[in-house]
């Protein structure tokens, strides 16, 4: 019994919402959640956005973000109910007994202060260590977390280290005061897969070596399976399933958990290339104004009618730049683009309306890609007016057809974007692109901002629409699972170059080049012990070399 560090009973959390044009009202976002966490154990909280997982994590520090308030229940840390103690007691707990690692270390470090000052601040403030002791401990943690130059990295400012390094610094910040519990809130979500694996391993080893307990919050079940002892699945503020990691992954009981475990099960038969590609990118080299180096080097790819080319790479690989070149937003320095048998003007101004119509685009952030003051009907109707000069009943009929195609239906025609969920917004963006009857659509990370199950639905929809409309996709993504699910051919990009290109079956089969191998092996897999296997495998390989 004494080993229970964190005991949460019937936790209820509320928030005040401000719907436009209505009176503010209080809603409940977590409806009575209970769990226990023993010393030195890791509990994974998993769910989609809106599940309340971050809110529950912060509640273990008696903290409510924005207008969020804890309205009921008990949170016992080290044998006392922190919801009933004074603010000064809670301040002793925060940064002392319980610490926090946020999703974006880049935003969570104060840009105006050196890393070391921020890492040791809580420990010194709580008089747990003297400044000197705390700095020594921080340097030890930097080394343990695999940061380069651990003795001096603390002297740098946050902008002087990379995102992955900063995330590890944040972990050091959380571990520095020797807490009993660390709340990890999506600590690797913002990182590239190849970086994620290192940070994940660093976090896991740090947890093991310091004997600290942790709440690990994420939407990625494959990730949480690697680090946690128990898992709690949450959905819209309710517990769906709570059990050991082994039981949740290998023997899920609830339908929702089963869906999460088996997500990304889309089967897509690869199509054969046609003799006549719809898009040909020949020797494109491009750079941004004011930079003295090229962002794209001699890129050659083709997209075939009714097929999907997935362009995959990590942040900074040049995949979005390629989309900007193809759409004419960034004229290339060299090379040319052939589309539907005709050469495209390098810049947007030189393209005909037909060029524009046949090449549409869907963006990552559906939120900001729509005018919030226009209804769904206006948004989808705009390309119909612009390209086909449709008006009145004819236009409305076509809008309804498109809404049916994206599985929303006529009822949505008068709604505003703010009234739609993330997945519905992306569907409207798809309908807007389809309205132009394009030959090809560039999809730039269209599922990255969505929850896995919703993203799955969008991918299925895109595949169905491809069959009906015979439209080609150039699909930009960093997510290899998405690539597997929808592509016919794949281009792997790294530092502005296409390092591997060909039909899906060929690109995803060995022998691999080094980068593709690294990329493929870094995608978390939904089985226990995957992380150790990969890391051990890599160590063996580097020893073998």
């Amino acid at each position: 019994m004494s080993d229970t560090l964190l005991k949460v009973r019937d936790l209820k959390i509320g928030a005040t919402v401000y719907p436009p044009g209505e009176k503010p009202r209080d809603i409940e976002i977590v409806h009575g959640v209970s769990f226990d966490l023993e010393r030195g154990k890791v509990l994974g909280l998993i769910g989609e956005s809106g599940a309340g997982k971050s809110t529950i994590g912060l509640a273990s520090m008696a903290y409510g973000r924005g207008g969020v308030k804890i309205t009921g229940g008990e949170v016992w840390v080290n044998g006392r109910d922190i919801l009933k103690t004074s603010l000064s007691d809670i301040r002793k707990l925060r940064g002392g007994e319980v610490t926090y690692v946020s999703q974006s270390a880049a935003a969570s470090f104060n840009p105006a202060k050196r890393i070391m000052d921020q890492v040791v601040e809580a420990a010194v403030e709580k008089k747990k260590f003297t400044r000197k002791e705390a700095e020594a401990r921080a340097r030890e943690l930097f080394a343990k977390l695999g940061l380069p130059d651990p003795d001096n990295i603390g002297n740098r400012y946050p902008h002087q280290v990379s995102g992955g390094q900063l995330q590890r610094c944040m972990t050091a910040l959380a571990l520095c005061p020797e807490p009993d519990l660390v709340v990890f809130d999506e600590p690797t979500t913002a990182l590239d897969v190849t970086t994620q694996i290192d940070v994940l391993m660093a976090i896991k080893e740090a947890i093991r070596d310091t004997g600290v307990a942790a709440l690990y919050i994420t939407h990625d079940l494959a990730v949480v399976a690697q680090v946690s002892d128990d898992i709690m699945v949450l959905r819209m503020g309710d517990t769906v399933e709570y059990g050991t990691t082994d039981q949740i992954i290998n023997n899920p009981q609830e339908e929702y958990t089963k869906a999460l475990v088996s997500v990304r099960s889309i089967e897509h038969e690869e199509k054969q290339p046609t003799p006549e590609p719809v898009l040909q990118v020949d020797g494109i080299t491009a750079r941004y104004k004011g930079l003295n180096f090229d962002v794209l080097h001699n890129v050659n790819v083709e997209v075939h009618p009714g097929q999907t080319l997935a362009v995959v790479g990590e942040s900074g690989s040049g995949k979005s730049t390629l989309a900007r070149v193809i759409t004419g937003l960034l004229p290339p320095r060299d090379g040319e683009i052939t589309f539907a048998g005709r050469k495209l003007s390098p810049d947007l101004a030189g393209r005909s309306r037909e060029d524009l119509r046949e090449l549409q685009m869907i963006y990552q952030m559906a939120d900001v890609a729509m005018n919030p003051r226009q209804t769904v009907g206006t948004i989808i109707g705009r390309p119909l007016e612009f390209y086909f000069n449709m008006r009145g009943a004819e236009k409305r009929k076509r809008i309804v057809e498109l809404l049916d195609e994206i599985e929303l239906g006529e009822g949505f025609i008068d709604r505003y974007p703010a009234e739609l969920s993330g997945g519905q917004k992306q569907r409207v963006c798809i309908a807007r692109a389809l309205a132009a009857k394009p030959r090809m659509i560039i999809c730039d990370e269209v599922t990255s901002a969505l929850d896995p199950l919703v993203a799955d639905g969008i991918l299925k929809l895109l595949l169905d629409l491809q069959k009906i409309e015979d439209v080609a996709y150039l699909f930009i993504t960093h997510d290899l699972a998405t690539v597997r699910a929808i592509s016919d051919s794949i281009a792997v990009m790294y530092q502005g170059r296409v390092v591997r290109y060909g039909p899906k079956s060929q690109v995803l089969s060995p022998p691999f080049d080094d980068y593709t191998d690294l990329l493929l092996s870094s995608v978390p897999e939904m089985h226990l012990g995957w992380l150790e296997e990969v890391v051990a495998h890599r160590k063996m390989e580097s020893a073998g070399n």
Partner: protein, 318 residues
């Protein structure tokens, strides 16, 4: 070259260019006014012959550009010209006046800037609670009342009724430092009340803006007290906008104190300028214009440079 040095020298060069432009504008505008110095000296009833003679004598017949070049060269050598009305060297008379104005501005700034920032921090600490509302209400009231009214009210109640401080702020070189301070106490209070609200509200807004950021949440989750969160983590990131508004107000303290100087009969630049404007003493107006422009541009340049220096990305490049 370190990017900071490059950016700062760019700022300074731009400031000088702007000052040059301002001098041309001031000169051009006084040229565009009807009548000229000769007319002003001789008055409306002067004969055309006398006017022509005086113009010849003063060199007013030459090209405007030539006269501008001469005037500018003079300024660069510290020669601001001679006053038309009293024939005194402008640089000399301005010298002591400017000193007085800067003395007043300095003390007003010394009181108002720290007070404004402190009140701003206090308002953030107790945001939307009564201390915040009280601070906002009081400072907004003082900025809304015209300064001459505040001046007269203070003179009547503080100086006349209570007998504290001198009702007139006349100072001269024979006074001791403490006597001078006693003399300017009331104008300093009035100026402080006028500039306080602006700076305090900007401090509050800039810090509140920063308070939304994730690193402030990190600081709160470290269990720091509210004031430490604001002072250590929010304030350093809010310096740039605060310095900007502080500099605008400092410039106002130098350039815009005419009314207060007149109310308290303070021998500063404002009084001097007003006196000579009424007498159409163009060389004095020109000289004052350039000095005010230089102070304004200089202070804003300092604000820009502080903002550059306050940015850690520029101070410590990758």
């Amino acid at each position: 070259m370190h990017p900071i040095i490059k950016l700062v020298s760019q700022r300074i060069a731009l400031g000088l260019l702007l000052l040059f432009g301002a001098s041309a504008l001031i000169f051009g505008l006084t040229e565009a006014l009807p009548g000229d110095a000769a007319q002003a000296v001789l008055g409306q009833s002067a004969t055309p012959e006398a006017l022509a003679n005086l113009r010849e004598e003063m060199g007013l017949n030459r090209l405007a550009l030539t006269r501008y070049a001469e005037w500018l060269t003079g300024i660069l050598h510290g020669d601001l010209g001679t006053s038309l009305t009293n024939g005194l060297d402008i640089a000399e008379s301005v010298g002591s006046r400017l000193g007085n104005t800067l003395f007043l501005a300095f003390w007003a700034a010394l009181v108002s800037v720290p007070l404004a920032i402190f009140l701003g921090l206090l308002a953030v600490r107790y945001r939307n609670r009564w201390p915040d509302k009280l601070i906002s209400a009081v400072t907004l009231t003082t900025i809304s009342i015209p300064e001459f009214l505040i001046g007269y009210v203070l003179v009547y109640f503080v100086a006349v009724k209570l007998g504290m401080f001198s009702p007139l702020a006349m100072i001269n070189d024979s006074m001791s430092f403490w006597q001078k301070l006693n003399a300017i106490a009331l104008p300093v209070i009035v100026l402080t009340m006028v500039v306080l609200a602006h700076m305090m509200r900007m401090t509050r807004a800039a810090i509140l803006n920063v308070m939304q950021s994730a690193y402030v949440e990190t600081a709160e989750l470290k269990g720091l007290s509210n004031f430490k969160v604001i002072w250590r983590h929010a304030f350093p990131n809010a310096i740039a906008p605060i310095v900007n508004v502080v500099m605008l107000n400092l410039a106002y303290l130098v350039v815009g104190v005419v009314v207060v100087e007149v109310v308290f009969v303070y021998p500063g630049m404002g009084q001097y300028l007003v006196d000579h404007v009424t007498k159409r003493d163009v060389p004095v107006v020109l000289a004052c214009g350039v000095i005010f422009a230089a102070i304004y541009i200089g202070l804003n340049m300092v604000a820009d440079i502080v903002a550059i220096l306050a940015n850690p990305r520029l101070r410590h490049p990758k």
